[in-house]
């Protein structure tokens, strides 16, 4: 599959997305927009589209990087404790500094997400039994332990409702003034691209890296920083997008292989297309209301995830 085709699909879907919504705007109106239509486009539709694309890029690439660095196909921010740690960080920010600005919340959540992911990688180092399915299970358990701490303190402080809004991804609240934090992910994704080759080599192991004169630890740490920061930015603006970081890289790997330099752009674009499709479905299925994206991605994603698991079993047997 050519990257070019994927980009065309992405553009077509993007245009479609702009013209779906309660307020009726058709492409024909484009040159004779009323003021209200203009405002809907600028305040709601464009920000929504941009945040969908950036979140799709971000979550699929962080998944890819995590899989490469942990050398396990089923590790992602969702199954590696990153998302859960980030939410704990946000809760701490809400509790300790109730008047914290978005940036302050982001920094605290980032610190937690990084620490959580790092801890998970340390646990991985110690586990001798490196089964493909076992490792993400450990990650899920680890994430749930953190998550239960979050729930406990959120419950005690009447912040459950706040927390659950970070839990369920949704683009319905995205509008200009509330999504700009996502732009932080752009330089990080560029950095990920520049490091693509190094991440691939890091995925081949510590000794392999050392033979080629590469500082394995440094590259892994840079990767984890990118993963943690991008995940936090996405959670803070749209909430958790489960499975995305898991299934998209796995799908792309099937036809592109594991060379990051080659599959990174594909992964990003396929991720954005997937989120766009899920968002459009969520917006149309009970029109004029909408289903939160976390739910659509969760349903479609888990089916694909199951398929990937089965396929792997068949392949191994």
């Amino acid at each position: 599959m050519k990257l070019w085709y994927l980009l065309v699909v992405l553009i077509v879907l993007s245009i479609t997305s702009l013209f779906i919504g309660v307020k009726d705007i058709s492409p024909l109106d484009l040159f004779s927009l009323t003021e209200a239509q203009q405002q809907v486009l600028m305040i709601s539709r464009f920000p929504r589209l941009i945040s969908i694309i950036l979140a799709g890029f971000g979550m699929s690439i962080t998944g890819l990087i995590m899989q490469q660095l942990s050398r396990n196909k089923f590790v992602s921010p969702t199954t590696g404790g990153t998302d859960d740690s980030a939410r704990l960080g946000i809760l701490v920010a809400l509790m300790v500094f109730p008047s914290a600005s978005t940036i302050e919340k982001m920094l605290l959540a980032f610190a937690f997400a990084l620490a959580g992911t790092f801890l998970f990688m340390k646990i991985l180092d110690r586990i001798k039994f490196k089964d493909t399915i076992f490792i993400p299970l450990v990650g899920l358990m680890f994430g749930n332990v953190i998550s239960s701490v979050t729930t406990f303190f959120a419950y005690k402080n009447d912040l459950i409702q706040n927390i659950s809004s970070w839990l369920q991804g949704s683009f319905s609240l995205v509008m200009s003034g509330r999504y700009e934090l996502l732009y932080v992910s752009i330089p990080l994704l560029v950095l990920a691209y520049l490091y693509a080759n190094k991440f691939t080599i890091a995925g081949l192991g510590q000794e392999f890296s050392a033979n080629l004169g590469m500082n394995h630890k440094l590259v892994v740490n840079i990767g984890l920083v990118i993963v943690a920061l991008v995940s936090v930015v996405v959670i803070l603006t749209v909430g958790t997008l489960p499975f995305l970081g898991l299934i998209i890289p796995n799908i792309v790997t099937l036809y592109m292989g594991d060379n990051l330099k080659k599959n990174l752009a594909h992964t990003a674009v396929v991720g954005a297309i997937f989120v766009l499709v899920c968002d459009i479905i969520g917006r149309l299925i009970i029109f004029p209301y909408e289903i939160p994206i976390g739910l659509t991605i969760g349903v479609i994603g888990s089916v694909i995830f199951l398929y990937l698991l089965m396929r792997r079993k068949a392949y191994e047997g």
Partner: protein, 252 residues
């Protein structure tokens, strides 16, 4: 020239390598042999800086290992470990291109790609270069890794049990390639090997280790000798000369 001086290594208080000193001659094949647990792989890992040594010195071209920049060292010395089981989907060509990493840091120039092509041709992998590593047999996989090391173009090539899990045909093929690397390209090859007969047929020098110490070292003819092998392996191994090679009959 690689010079190992009084190198020691212990794991959890238990010595694995004790005060080992050995010189590796340039442009030759040197084999490390010895029973399991002798410390052969540990020694090889320390020479290649994959493993830190507890004490002693390893001099590469007269310069202590720790004084080398890792990046420069990667252009001087390369190592292939025994467990090359990779669960990443990479093509042969992609793997070989990583051998140029020390020179280009991932941005391969035209000359880098020429070296990659040469290495692929040298290992007879042209037809397989677009294949994924997980589609190849054990022997083809090993050849792909050796091609990567050739692309890395280092003076010293270290291999940890390169014949592991290979059948006879592929083992012979790999050993012949190593011989060619020495004769044609002037490389220095150091390898850990279990089969004394492969060591006997293809290496110039043999270093025999036992219990973390060097028991004997010398030219192949002097080491492949019943009395010396008895000392190393505690086994009576008669030596026969077949086609000019000294072959140990150790099967019964």
């Amino acid at each position: 020239m690689i010079e190992v001086r009084n190198v020691s290594k212990a794991y959890g208080g238990k010595p694995v390598i004790e005060e080992v000193s050995v010189g590796i001659k340039k442009g030759k094949i040197t084999s490390f042999i010895g029973p399991n647990g002798a410390g052969k792989s540990t020694l090889l890992s320390m020479i290649s800086r994959l493993l830190t040594k507890d004490s002693g010195q390893v001099l590469i071209e007269g310069k202590e290992l720790s004084d080398w920049k890792s990046k420069d060292l990667a252009k001087k010395i390369s190592i292939l470990k025994q467990s090359n089981h990779i669960n990443l989907r990479l093509t042969v060509r992609e793997l070989v291109s990583f051998g140029r990493f020390p020179y280009s840091q991932g941005k391969l120039t035209k000359e880098d790609w020429e070296q990659v092509d040469e290495a692929i041709a040298y290992m007879d992998l042209v037809d397989l270069q677009g294949k994924y590593l997980d589609e190849l047999s054990g022997g083809q996989n090993q050849r792909a890794f050796i091609a990567m090391v050739i692309a890395q173009n280092t003076e010293y090539i270290l291999l940890d049990e390169p014949l592991n899990n290979l059948d006879m045909k592929h083992s012979v093929q790999i050993m012949k390639v190593l011989r060619r690397l020495v004769e044609e390209l002037g490389k220095t090859v150091i390898l850990v090997i279990h089969d004394i007969n492969f060591a006997s047929c293809y290496s110039d020098y043999i270093v025999a280790l036992k219990n973390g110490k060097i028991v004997k070292e010398g030219s192949t003819e002097t080491i492949i000798d019943s009395a010396i092998l008895k000392e190393i392996y505690d086994m009576d191994i008669p030596i026969e000369i077949i086609n000019g090679n000294r072959i140990g009959i150790y099967f019964s």
